[in-house]
């Protein structure tokens, strides 16, 4: 510091010196940031790995898949959701199952059951030599016998089990006496030998075999239940399943993952399968997509909108992506017990006023326009249904005139919708459609729990979006559950439009017992037509499911009945890592 330097300049120099490290640091950070931003790799356009090219199916490897939520129960009597079924169907088998075309086939039963003349008795013969998985609850090898089938169904139907699947078996003889505790056994289940069991119904019921093919009816070993009761923790049976299926349950780290190993004693010999299956819980959205792209996940089933569009337009993924319509119907449920929807013309006007094509566009094409209760793959679906609901504004206005509201309805209608931005946006779309025929909609967005409770009570909710997904591929599962008047209750009604039509009830009752398949389907087509014409719902769309799998995952196609069924996959290992350029550019490997 020389005396000749002016004071202000000295200051400035000092400040600069002090600030220098900071300035350099900031500059360095900016440079690093800029470098990083320009050198972030592009999103890869194709698969990371491909298969080894094995000509014959092979056994081995680990198959990794995910569920969008936690799993809750591995007890076939309790679980009632697609995620749990993914795991349960690895561990358990049913007497009946569905093949890849959706046809019912015998599984643990050695053949399709014999049906008596009157259609009320079904005799099953079990496959001999089927063993339950090795487990400490057994003394040694434990064979599946007819007695297990009886025990399992009685446990399922016992009131203390609290199973959601009870009503599917309500026509079994002695069902009510057993449920009321008047008899220790169900009279309609008759064990006739080590491998033979017969079921007798009070009334003929063509849906009984469909019920027997449901997961609820999968046989379980009573020793497992008794073991956990003796241990003082009866609930533990839901976390320690023992079945006959192709995979043995190994471990469940709660909230993280479940693991299964290949059942080496499986009754179906020489099945190529992975040695291990890993089911990751709570895997959804971005993390699932990221892991799948990295090759850490073998199938991708939940696709957020932006990623759906990405994969749909990525040619390298095209051979490994399937889009299939699902057996789901979505629509607008109208409470036929409340004004103005007690007027059939208003309901028809609503059904004709909604632009289903606009809804399809809004769902990125994942909502296929529908005009009847039955999805296309369900028997009884009728593409030429005379009363098919479709968008027709002029007809909607005409129906409003017939209803006595040529100038619209003055009183606004309240629509109950569940939580989430998506449901509100969708509601505003059909709400705008209704506005054009003079129905003003006020939205009432509530928690899903409230929505569920209030829409199940008569005289509570006027209008609300609703959906139904099949339990089994039979028209009764849609028409009877949603529109038969026996399903109207003070609370928790299944028939949430509270639609009452004695003619329809009689038709449905007759169809359920009709043994001739063609006559039966004709009755359902008639019922379908009535419901579509009377419009307790405006039927809007069927879901289009999209899923992807890795190139080395073999023998997998979406199953027509079970969603995400991995029983038959095998892995084409060792998988081959593709060149980085192929990976990022997405050339078809």
């Amino acid at each position: 510091m020389t005396p000749s330097t002016p004071r202000s300049r000295r200051h400035a120099e000092g400040a600069l010196r002090r600030a220098l490290p900071g300035v350099l640091l900031t500059l360095a950070a900016v440079c690093c940031g800029a470098y990083a931003l320009t050198h972030i790799p592009e999103r890869p356009q194709g698969p990371r790995y491909v298969g080894a090219g094995n000509a014959t199916p092979r056994t081995g490897g680990t198959f990794v898949f995910g569920a969008g939520s936690d799993l809750h129960s591995l007890d076939p009597h309790i679980a009632y959701d697609a995620n749990s079924y993914m795991a349960i169907r690895l561990v358990f088998d049913g007497l009946l199952d569905y093949d890849e075309q959706g046809q019912m086939v015998p599984s643990l039963a050695s053949a399709m059951p014999e049906v008596s003349e009157d259609g009320r008795t079904f005799t099953f013969h079990l496959r001999e030599g089927v063993l339950f998985h090795e487990s400490p609850v057994f003394d040694g090898p434990r064979e599946l016998v007819a007695e297990d089938v009886r025990w399992s169904l009685e446990r399922l139907l016992h009131p203390d089990t609290g199973s959601p699947g009870v009503s599917f078996f309500a026509r079994l003889r002695g069902f009510d006496d057993f449920r009321a505790g008047r008899t220790p056994h169900i009279a309609g289940i008759d064990v006739r030998g080590r491998y033979e069991v017969a079921f007798t119904l009070d009334q003929a019921d063509q849906t009984f075999l469909s019920a027997m093919a449901m997961v609820f009816a999968y046989p379980v070993p009573h020793e497992n239940y008794e073991h956990h009761i003796a241990q003082g923790d009866p609930g533990a049976v839901e976390r320690n399943p023992v079945g006959t299926g192709p995979f043995v349950f190994e471990a469940w780290e709660r909230g993280v993952q479940l693991t299964f190993t290949r059942n080496k004693r499986y009754w179906e010999r020489n099945r190529p399968n992975p040695d291990r299956m890993v089911l990751i819980e709570q895997l959804s959205g971005e993390t699932a997509v990221g892991r799948f792209s990295n090759g850490d996940l073998d199938v991708l089933t939940s696709l957020p909108a932006v990623h759906y569009l990405f994969f749909k337009h990525a040619p390298a993924w095209a051979p490994y992506m399937a889009e299939e319509p699902e057996a789901t119907i979505r629509g607008l449920c109208m409470n036929t017990g409340m004004a103005p929807f007690d007027n059939v013309h208003v309901r028809r006007a609503v059904a004709a006023a909604i632009d289903r094509e606009a809804m399809r566009v809004m769902a990125q094409g994942r909502a296929l326009p529908a005009g009847q209760i039955l999805p296309p793959m369900i028997p009884g679906y009728d593409p030429g249904l005379p009363s098919l609901q479709r968008y027709d504004l002029a007809r909607a206005q005409e129906e409003m005139r017939l209803a006595g509201y040529p100038n619209g309805i003055e009183e606004p209608v309240t629509a109950w919708i569940g939580e989430g931005q998506g449901s509100l946006v969708a509601a505003q779309l059909w709400g705008a459609n209704l506005e054009r025929i003079g129905i003003h909609v006020e939205y009432r967005q509530v928690a899903f729990s409230v929505y569920l409770e209030e829409t199940g009570k008569p005289g509570q909710a006027q209008l609300f979006p609703s959906a139904w997904n099949m339990d089994f591929p039979d028209p009764s599962n849609f028409l009877e559950i949603l529109f038969h008047s026996q399903n109207i209750h003070p609370t928790a009604s299944e028939n949430r439009s509270f639609y009452r039509n004695p003619e329809l009830d009689a038709l449905l009752d007759q169809a359920r017992g009709e043994p001739d398949r063609e006559r039966r389907l004709a009755l359902y087509r008639q019922a379908n037509d009535i419901v579509s014409r009377d419009a307790p719902w405006a039927f809007l769309s069927n879901d289009l499911g999209a899923e992807l799998w890795q190139p080395y995952v073999m023998n997998y196609r979406p199953h027509p009945v079970w969603s995400n069924d991995y029983r038959n996959v095998w892995l084409d290992l060792p998988r081959v890592r593709v060149a980085d350029s192929t990976y990022t550019e997405g050339a078809t490997p």
Binding site: A19, G22, H72, E238, T287, R291, N487, S493, E494
Partner: protein, 332 residues
């Protein structure tokens, strides 16, 4: 001190019992737990069975009684259920059985608590590491570019929520660059730590920024104090002065904040857990609320209540121990 503690405990019990009863009755306004637990596909028969088994068909007051354990147990599938006349409930130490997880609530929480704690502790370490470093640098380089740059950064850190930073970090750092795992929890302790790095850093951003700003303010004040000047005058090394004399006092508010952050630490960063698929208490709580799993909701409410009370108490006691000016229960 003892009198103070007793008073605080009584007050805490009063607050907890109020919260528990209020939440118990409010939850039941939100819908029918039976319908939600069994899902939209369940039929009336199944719902009736469920209500009977879980005692949901009883009057509200009776349900509350059995929840507390002052009237006979109604949860027949509870591990505490013996013969229909047994008592089980809160006062007997039972939290009940989860409707959706179908497992003892204490066990469900027991699975998830360590995961959330791990994430919380890692986040706290990152908060302290980044927060204290940035605070010291900013205070010592006061009014320089470094200071301004850091303070702008911390301002951004406080302002940008984790639901913005989380997905971006996940997409860029984990997916595109592959530096971190794509969410999840992994298997084995070191895998848990590896999977926890990114979420805990994201979780730490807000806290670190807050600590940095507070520490900078405190340190700037402290460095102006007479005793610091005296220490300098005695010829102590500048480093010793800052670390031994100034920093020690400046850290007091940070300690208070750490105590107050305890409930958040255990409660789980709900949003961060959701983004990173971290199977902790936060995610459990969200799902329980969505599915009206009353036993889980009650248990988490109770736990958060206890933790808030405990955290406050801890903060008070620690500060009193650190700062001789604060003395409890003495008049003067």
């Amino acid at each position: 001190m003892t009198r103070y503690l007793v008073k605080r405990t009584l007050w805490a019990l009063f607050v907890l019992s109020t919260v528990v009863s209020a939440v118990f009755f409010l939850v039941h306004v939100a819908g029918d737990p039976a319908a939600v637990a069994l899902g939209p596909r369940a039929n009336a028969d199944a719902i009736r069975d469920f209500r009977r088994i879980k005692g949901l068909d009883q009057p509200q007051l009776a349900q509350f009684g059995s929840y507390l354990g002052v009237s006979p147990c109604v949860r027949r599938d509870s591990p505490d259920f013996h013969d229909g006349a047994g008592y089980c409930g809160l006062l007997q130490g039972s939290l009940g059985t989860s409707y959706t997880h179908r497992e003892d609530v204490a066990a469900v929480i027991g699975h998830r608590m360590p995961r959330t704690l791990l994430l919380g502790v890692m986040a706290m370490l990152f908060e302290l590491l980044f927060g204290v470093t940035a605070g010291i640098v900013a205070a010592l380089r006061r009014n320089t570019w470094a200071d301004t740059g850091l303070m702008v950064l911390t301002f951004a850190g406080i302002s940008v929520p984790t639901f913005v930073t989380g997905p971006i970090a996940l997409f860029v750092l984990a997916f595109l660059l592959g530096w971190f795992p794509m969410g999840g929890y992994g298997v084995g302790f070191w895998e848990h730590v590896r999977h926890g790095l990114l979420p805990s850093m994201i979780l730490a951003v807000g806290g670190a920024a807050t600590y940095a700003r507070i520490l900078r303010g405190e340190l700037v004040e402290t460095l102006r104090m007479d005793y610091v000047r005296t220490a300098h005058a005695k010829g102590l090394a500048p480093r010793t002065v800052v670390v031994r004399h100034a920093l020690r006092n400046a850290l007091i508010p940070i300690v208070t904040l750490l105590g107050l952050s305890l409930p958040g630490l255990v409660g789980g960063a709900i949003i961060t857990e959701k983004i990173f698929n971290w199977p902790g208490l936060g995610m459990l709580t969200i799902e329980a609320i969505n599915k009206l799993d009353v036993p889980i909701i009650m248990a988490t409410v109770l736990m958060f209540g206890v933790l808030v009370q405990l955290g406050n108490l801890l903060a008070d006691v620690t500060v009193a121990a650190l700062d001789p000016r604060i003395r409890v229960g003495e008049r003067g």
